[in-house]
């Protein structure tokens, strides 16, 4: 009999201090979903395959998905840890939830809060999964080998309902705010945000239908809600309003608007734990972690460049549209046009030959310091690093209050309440220093709201799934598939650090799109086990 010196479940959940390790691990495992936190050489960021950014390098997973194979059941998806890892994260949360009562030096109230946190984390992972995969198996506890492990996929509606009820249950217990020591843990606002995001996607066209994007026969309810119901938009609007109310009333959260758009948007997206953040992925992995894919000081990030297709979502600072010439034009024209862009663009990108707008007068972010090699991209991303100086890490904003203003705006517009929609939309739009939107035509306003999502939430992991769930008709023709455009420089040689001569807008690559990609494939290895039904087309 070995004298066991290993840690067991009982010893982990003996004291608060030890249990905190399990809690910390649960947060990390759940909230890393879809983020390249491991810094793997072949990771991708979601906008590599949404058509917003170039696909990365030829060795990154994004390359094949964007250009040749699309999503496949044997390949990788933007859920980089893989489908199975979601359940590893969920298991960790359940283990904490089920064992926290064993801790001897924690009050019952605190234990209840920990349980609610774990429930919210589980809800978050399901919310992320249902958006990507449609209906997934619902696990309700930490399983043992003696349980029936062959849990089939639950219908989309059932997953949405579960998320909704978990969030309600969690929100009833969670605190509105945490002390400074514990910032980053689940709050009431965060739980309501998870619910609101899930309900928004439930209302959007991809799910809110009786006839899914591809027919799955008797199992159609695994990939859509099973009927079209306009009232889901009301539910979504209510949920978004609930977030706004809770966040602004009790959560100390607000839309940062000091009348200085570049600074306000930069702060809201970049500054750790700023007043607009509801939930962030607070994972400082130092120089080798996920920041390497976002921080242009690292080679992993060099493969990312802005496409013209996405650039066109940004307004000029005066609220009008910018036009990019398709014929060869002098480089000075590029400088002029790019300088005319709105503050959100300037807070998010660095243009050729121009020192980074979002780190003014910082040599670390100067043109000469960020240039790596000649590239044909419209600009390179520097978002999340507003006035970051030499700080290489950042906190990825999972939920920012602005998202719920846009969620509400989108829902109100779909309900035909354009005034309500504009009220919510303009809070975000005008914070960016742009003139108020006044459009009341539902279809036109829909386009404007979608464009607002793009301009406000670049690189925040919305666009890829938004365009799928909106069932954008151009998804295969310039968004994900079809001709993906970029700006070309110096007769296609690529932009140089200085001395550029000309540029033009033109095709970069032919993107791959197939309708099956509205939802992600389950891994073939899981399908082989015989319990899951694969999404159609894979």
């Amino acid at each position: 009999m070995p004298i066991s010196n290993t840690t067991t479940t009982d010893s982990v959940f003996s004291t608060t201090i030890k249990a905190q390790g399990a809690i910390a691990n649960a947060y990390k495992k759940v909230l890393c979903q879809g983020l390249p936190y491991q810094g793997n050489w072949n990771s991708l960021i979601q906008d590599n395959i949404s058509g917003a950014l170039t696909y990365g390098f030829s060795w990154t997973w994004g390359y094949g998905i964007a250009t040749s194979t699309g999503l496949t059941a044997t390949g990788n998806t933007e859920d980089m840890d893989g489908y199975a890892y979601n359940f590893t994260a969920i298991r960790q949360a359940y283990l904490v939830r089920e064992n926290i009562d064993k801790v001897t030096d924690m009050t019952a109230a605190d234990k209840a809060i920990v349980k609610a946190e774990m429930l919210a984390l589980i809800a978050y992972d399901y919310e992320q999964m249902v958006i990507m995969y449609g209906g997934v198996p619902i696990v309700t506890k930490s399983l043992t080998v003696n349980d029936d492990l062959n849990i089939p996929r639950a219908p989309v509606a059932e997953v949405i309902d579960s998320i909704s009820s978990w969030c309600d249950a969690a929100a009833a217990v969670l605190p509105a705010v945490w002390s400074a020591t514990w910032t980053g843990r689940m709050t009431k606002s965060a739980a309501l945000s998870i619910k609101a995001k899930a309900l928004l996607y439930a209302a959007r066209p991809l799910f809110n239908t009786a006839t899914p994007y591809l027919d799955l026969g008797a199992n159609n309810n695994l990939i859509c809600m099973g009927n079209e119901d306009a009232s889901r938009w009301q539910t979504a609007a209510t949920a978004a309003e609930a977030v706004i109310k809770e966040a602004e009333t009790n959560g100390g959260i607000k839309i940062i608007n000091t009348g200085n758009p570049l600074d306000d948007y930069g702060t809201a997206t970049s500054t750790p734990a700023n007043a607009e953040i509801i939930l962030a992925f607070k994972y400082d992995a130092g120089g080798s972690g996920m920041n390497t894919f976002y921080n242009m000081h690292n080679w992993q990030a060099y493969g990312n460049g802005l496409t013209t297709s996405y650039l066109e979502n940004y307004y000029k600072a005066d609220g009008t549209d910018q036009v990019w010439p398709t014929a060869t034009t002098a480089f000075s024209d590029y400088t002029t046009r790019i300088q005319a862009m709105e503050p959100r663009f300037k807070a998010s990108f660095k243009a050729w030959e121009i020192d980074t707008w979002n780190n003014p007068n910082d040599n670390n972010w100067a043109n000469s310091n960020l240039f790596q090699w000649a590239m044909n991209v419209a600009a390179v991303p520097v978002k999340f690093y507003y006035k970051a100086g030499t700080r290489n890490w950042f906190e990825f904003p999972i939920f920012r209050l602005a998202a719920y203003y846009l969620s509400a705006a989108e829902a109100y517009n779909e309900l035909g309440q354009s005034a309500n929609a504009l009220a919510k939309l303009n809070i975000i739009h005008q914070r960016a220093g742009l003139p108020a939107i006044t459009e009341t035509d539902q279809a036109k306003l829909r386009t404007i709201i979608q464009r607002e999502w793009a301009a406000e939430f670049f690189d925040e992991n919305y666009w890829l799934h938004d365009i799928k769930h909106w069932k954008r008709t151009d998804i295969g023709d310039g968004l994900i598939g079809g001709v993906i455009r970029t700006l070309h420089f110096n007769s296609d040689v690529g932009s140089k650090m200085t001395g550029n001569t000309d540029y033009h807008d033109g095709k970069m690559y032919l993107g791959f799109w197939a309708p099956r990609q509205f939802l992600n494939p389950f891994p073939q290895t899981e399908i082989n086990k015989g319990t899951l039904i694969q999404n159609p087309g894979y």
């Binding site: 004298i3 399990a22 947060y27 990390k28 080998v145």
Partner: protein
């Protein structure tokens, strides 16, 4: 065991006779004297006494003489332990010379079985035996290699031919499990630790070994319980007999070389072939390899081993004599080397000496042996600059076995043995303990170099570079693969590894006959302690290396620069380790005959503990067991046997530790039936069968799988709190599950059935034995690939479960023939073994096509694409299915079959091809003749239905990195348009740098059959027959012999240089292998 029991009975009977019977008087007396012998040997201490009168008794002296005064019509009894008792009537004779017959011969052959011995005719299990004499006639270093071809049911492959690393991997009746496959090795009753199965065995001196039993079926192995399922090999060492001391001395020596070497293409053909590849690339519109093209002048230079053509010499501004000298000067640049041969093509010396003494006086019998073995590697011994890179293996052996009769009914046996080995191998420059990695380091540079990469030795100096860079014209081949750095210089400067292993084994055996309770009852005890210590270090010796060029002013001058030495380097602690093992055993056995009813019983308990530094949880690994055996036979005609093992290991949960493994067997000797007519055709027929269960606790490297789920407190944590970005947020370390326990984990269970018939025909000249066996192994611990992701446990920590199943079945045929023609006697022995396993269940999800599963196929079944010829025409090329592996193909490339017909070549088209590495069929044939003093024996072995993947990297990719080596068969057989049109035989695909297509995808093109036949062993000996001569020289016997191993090989498919007995492990399939060797050996054996 039975033999011993019988010995004890005779002692008991003697005692009864001495005590219990009356005496008689009245006849005239006579002094009788004489000598007692057994064969040529005099016997000391033989009891001589008058029947019915214990007072008239004596013993033979040291010359075997006795003298006794008895009545002239008395009957004398000669009694001696180990010999058949003789009664002789004096009949007034004054001199009586007596020859005693040993009981062994009297009782017939005795077979060593688990925890005992049995008379051969009464054995019902499946046991093969190999005698010590057969072992020593194979001049190799390891016992495992000596076993190859010597018995049925044994199959073996060998990982390496490197001295010290050249043991064979033995399987008994193939493989029947997905986990540990090693058989149990038992040496003089001591089970070797499962963690170190072969260490002691392979370091033994064959001269110490009396015989080896190979236990195959449940009846034979059930007594070993959870360790018996993979079969058992029992090694019995020699022991002394009551006798005058006998000194034996054996000396032999010889040499080894590679059985074959990889055929590397010479520079001229290499240049022709690479030019063809460059042109193929050009034809495909790729001109980026043009700088690799050799000119006609260069081809001439390669062909003629010159650096200058006649025209070039004539254009030089040098004198006539210099021109003449240059015209005769061998190339510095345009050389041609086979570096594989230059490293591995040497001869290694081998010597072995053994000295032993055996004998016994009445109370003490002894055997002691000293051995020395030395084997050099086959590497060419450049010994340049003290590099000393050849492999070298030395072994010192010591053994002493004592049997002491403390009292008449109490014996102590003491075995003490030591082994010490010193291994010295080239390191390749990296102190990896992984053999495959090390061979890769040594060999990869050879494969990635052109045959003209460097000149090697120039004027006795080793060159490792040319002076001159690209474009300066000094080094003409710098851009074409002639860097000047020869693999030899890398090899010689890479250093060596040295390893010392010392193992001591000791056993004390106590035996007490309890005839005072009932006859045939014995009490035994055994305690054993084994200890092994390993120490190693890594060493590099700096050697002088030079850069070379021809003087541009006069190319006859070869300039050599460099030669600086760097400090030598030694690194301690390479592969150090230590382990020890304690074994305890106690048993009671009983054997008795009641008329025709013969019964025996054994009840035994044992416990063992293995301790090593690297064991998980730092706890020793322990086993406990009970053994039971009951045998019964009626008149040796009807045989019945029951065996069982009850074993426990702490690897399993407390309530699941002990397993019960029973086996029954029965036999019927038909020819002993009274109704069976005596005849000369079928003189012996025995039918026997067994069925039982055996276990295996070898479940992979994880121990204590039953322990509850473990957590690690060093897993990923998270950052809470807020620093506003001015500094890092506070980190909270994480805790998460690391291992999941399965409290139900238990041993593997094998159900084995064995049916056999033994026949002797034509006055016993022919022996034939045929066996059918089937094994169903279940409870095999496997990782559950079917567990859905929803479980939420990463597949690496999902607890494995005992749900795998493998079946294994086959047959064995053993045939023997003995006869003589006058003084020429000859024998023939042949074995044929077939074993085929199948994975019945391994918790594998079912794939789209059944061939994608492992389930349903043999363990280790190779899978790959199916070769469908070459693309011979453009039409074939254009109509090919899309290949997901790059989809490139050119004329002459390998064409693959679209198995599932979906128009795409992808993983779904990878199907079972060939067999597994370990052949299903192994057969052997031994033929021997003896005439007067001469004897000759030859062992042929062969296998069938095995495969070797000759597929890795350079083996299937010519010109690796554009400059790598090419193998001759590829060049000779490669596809060209011309050959195709002429209908010539094409055996390899075409080559081109660009678009060479996926020629090297793993397919049955690269999977070769490793079937072979080989003259494994040949021995010719002569023993001096002139007894007078021997007596005058005080020599009992002397024999001279020559033998050889792996002498001739016939194999069809694997490329020359790849030995068909080579295992597919390490990196052998990539050609990173140390060639297997052939041995020629000469020796003499003298007995004093």
């Amino acid at each position: 065991m039975i033999k011993r029991l019988l010995l004890q009975w005779s002692v008991a009977l003697l005692l009864l006779e001495l005590i219990g019977l009356p005496t008689t008087y009245g006849q005239s007396s006579l002094t009788v004297s004489g000598t007692v012998r057994s064969g040529n040997e005099v016997l000391i201490g033989v009891s001589v006494y008058q029947k019915n009168n214990i007072n008239i008794a004596t013993k033979t002296d040291e010359n075997g003489h006795f003298k006794l005064t008895v009545p002239d019509n008395a009957t004398l009894i000669f009694s001696f332990i180990g010999y058949h008792r003789q009664e002789v009537n004096v009949n007034a004779r004054p001199v009586l010379n007596i020859n005693l017959v040993t009981e062994d011969k009297a009782l017939g052959e005795v077979v060593v079985v688990g925890y005992g011995k049995q008379k051969a005719p009464t054995v019902t299990g499946a046991i093969s035996t190999v005698g010590g004499k057969e072992l020593v006639s194979t001049p190799v270093s390891n016992i495992t290699n000596m076993l190859v071809g010597r018995a049925s049911g044994i199959s073996a492959v060998q990982s390496s031919g490197e001295p010290g690393q050249n043991a064979a991997t033995i399987h008994i009746r193939g493989i029947a499990t997905l986990n540990g496959q090693d058989p149990l090795i038992v040496i003089d009753g001591i089970q070797q630790p499962a963690e170190q199965p072969y260490v002691v065995l392979n370091a033994m001196d064959a001269n110490e070994i009396e015989g080896i039993s190979i236990l195959k079926d449940a009846s034979a192995t059930a007594v070993y319980g959870i360790r018996g399922a993979n079969g058992v090999i029992i090694v019995t060492t020699k022991r002394g007999k009551l006798n005058k001391p006998t000194f034996g001395f054996t000396a032999n020596g010889g040499f080894t070389n590679a059985t074959s070497l990889l055929p590397i293409l010479n520079s001229y053909q290499y240049a022709l072939f690479r030019n063809e590849g460059v042109r193929n690339a050009e034809a495909a519109g790729n001109s980026s390899f043009d700088n690799l093209l050799f000119t006609d002048n260069e081809l001439w230079k390669f062909k003629n081993n010159r650096d200058y053509t006649t025209d070039e010499i004539n254009s030089l501004e040098i004198g006539t004599s210099d021109r003449q000298a240059l015209a005769n000067s061998p190339a510095l640049y345009y050389t041609s080397h086979n570096y594989f041969k230059e490293i591995f093509g040497g001869k290694g010396q081998q010597q072995q000496y053994n000295m032993n003494i055996s004998g016994g006086v009445e109370k003490v019998r002894y055997f002691a042996s000293l051995g020395y073995y030395h084997q050099q590697g086959i590497l060419n011994d450049y010994n340049y600059g003290g590099s000393n890179t050849n492999s070298n293996f030395k072994r010192y052996n010591f053994r002493s076995n004592f049997d002491i009769d403390v009292f008449k009914n109490f014996q102590i046996s003491v075995n003490l043995a030591g082994q010490s080995t010193v291994g010295h191998v080239p390191s390749g420059g990296y102190s990896s303990t992984d053999q495959g990695d090390r061979y890769q380091l040594i060999i990869q540079k050879i494969f990635e170099s052109s045959p003209f990469v460097g000149p090697n030795f120039v004027n006795g100096k080793l060159v490792n570079g040319f002076i001159g860079t690209s474009g300066d014209g000094i080094n003409p081949l710098v851009d074409k693969g002639g860097s000047g750095v020869s693999p030899i210089s890398d090899f010689l400067s890479a250093g060596t590894l040295n390893q010392y292993i010392t193992t001591l084994t000791s056993t004390v055996n106590l035996k007490h006959q309890m005839d005072y309770i009932t006859q045939g009852l014995n009490l035994n005890g055994k305690i054993a302690y084994d200890d092994s210590y390993t120490k190693g270090f890594y060493q590099t010796t700096s050697i002088p290396l030079y850069k070379a060029m021809r003087d541009p002013n006069n190319p006859n001058n070869i300039v050599l620069a460099g030669g600086q030495l760097n400090p030598d380097y030694t690194s301690d602690n390479w592969g150090n380790g230590a382990w020890r093992k304690v074994y305890l055993e106690a048993s009671i056995d009983y054997a008795h005959s009641f008329g025709n009813h013969n019964v025996s019983a054994l009840f035994l308990g044992n416990a063992q503990k293995y301790t090593a530094h690297d064991l998980t949880y730092n706890t020793p690994s322990g086993l406990m067991g009970l053994v039971g055996r009951v045998t019964y036979n009626f008149s040796e005609r009807y045989l019945l046997e029951f065996n069982m093992g009850l074993n426990g290991t702490e690897n399993f949960a407390p309530k699941r530790r002990f397993g019960y493994f029973p086996a029954v067997s029965a036999g019927w000797v038909v020819t002993k039936e009274p109704f069976y007519p005596k005849n000369d055709v079928l003189t012996w027929l025995k039918l026997r069968g067994s069925y039982g269960e055996v276990g295996s606790d070898r479940l992979g490297s994880r121990r204590y799988l039953y322990l509850p789920n473990g957590w690690s407190s060093s897993s990923s944590g998270y950052y809470f709190g807020n620093s506003n970005g001015s500094s890092a947020n506070p980190y909270f370390s994480g805790a998460s599950e690391t291992t999941l326990g399965n409290p139900d984990v238990t041993w593997e269970r094998a159900k084995k059935l064995n049916l056999a018939a033994d026949l002797r025909l034509w006055k016993d000249k022919i022996t034939l034995s045929a066996t059918l066996f089937r094994e169903n192994r279940n409870n095999i611990l496997v990782n559950l690939q079917t567990i859905p992701a929803t479980y939420g446990v990463s597949s690496s920590i999902v607890p494995p479960a005992n749900i795998g199943r493998v079946s294994n079945q086959g047959y064995e045929i053993e045939l023997g023939y003995n006869d003589n023609i006058g003084k020429l006697s000859y024998f023939l022995r042949a074995n044929f073994s077939y074993a085929r396993n199948k994975i019945e269940y391994m918790a594998e999800p079912s794939y789209q096509y059944p061939w994608m599963n492992e389930t349903g196929y043999s363990i280790g079944q190779y899978k790959g694409y199916v070769w469908d010829g070459f693309f011979n025409t453009t039409e074939e090329l254009n109509n090919r299915p899309y290949n997901t592996n790059g989809n490139q193909a050119r004329l002459g490339n390998i064409r693959y079959k679209d198995i599932n017909g979906d128009g795409i070549i992808d993983t779904k088209d990878q199907v079972p091809i060939g067999y597994s590495n370990l052949p299903r069929i192994a057969y052997n044939l031994t033929i021997g003749f003896s005439y007067k003093g001469f004897d000759i024996s030859a062992l042929f072995i062969g296998t069938a239905q095995g495969s070797f993947p000759q597929s890795g990297y350079v083996l299937s990719t010519p010109f690796a990195k554009n400059v790598g080596a090419v193998f001759q068969p590829y060049y000779d057989g490669h596809w060209t348009q011309e050959k195709y049109e002429n209908g010539e035989k094409i055996t390899y695909p075409s080559f081109s740098f660009s678009g060479s297509g996926p020629n090297n995808l793993f397919s049955d093109f690269w999977l070769k059959s490793n079937n072979f036949k080989r003259l494994k062993n040949l021995e010719i000996g002569y023993s001096i027959q002139d007894r007078g001569l021997l007596t005058r020289a005080h020599i009992r016997s002397i024999r001279f012999y020559a033998n050889g191993n792996n002498l001739i090989t016939w194999s069809k498919e694997v490329m020359k240089g790849i030995d068909p007995e080579l295992a597919d492990d390490g990196k052998n399939s990539m050609g990173y292998m140390y060639p297997l060797t052939r041995t020629f050996n000469f020796g003499t054996n003298i007995q004093f």
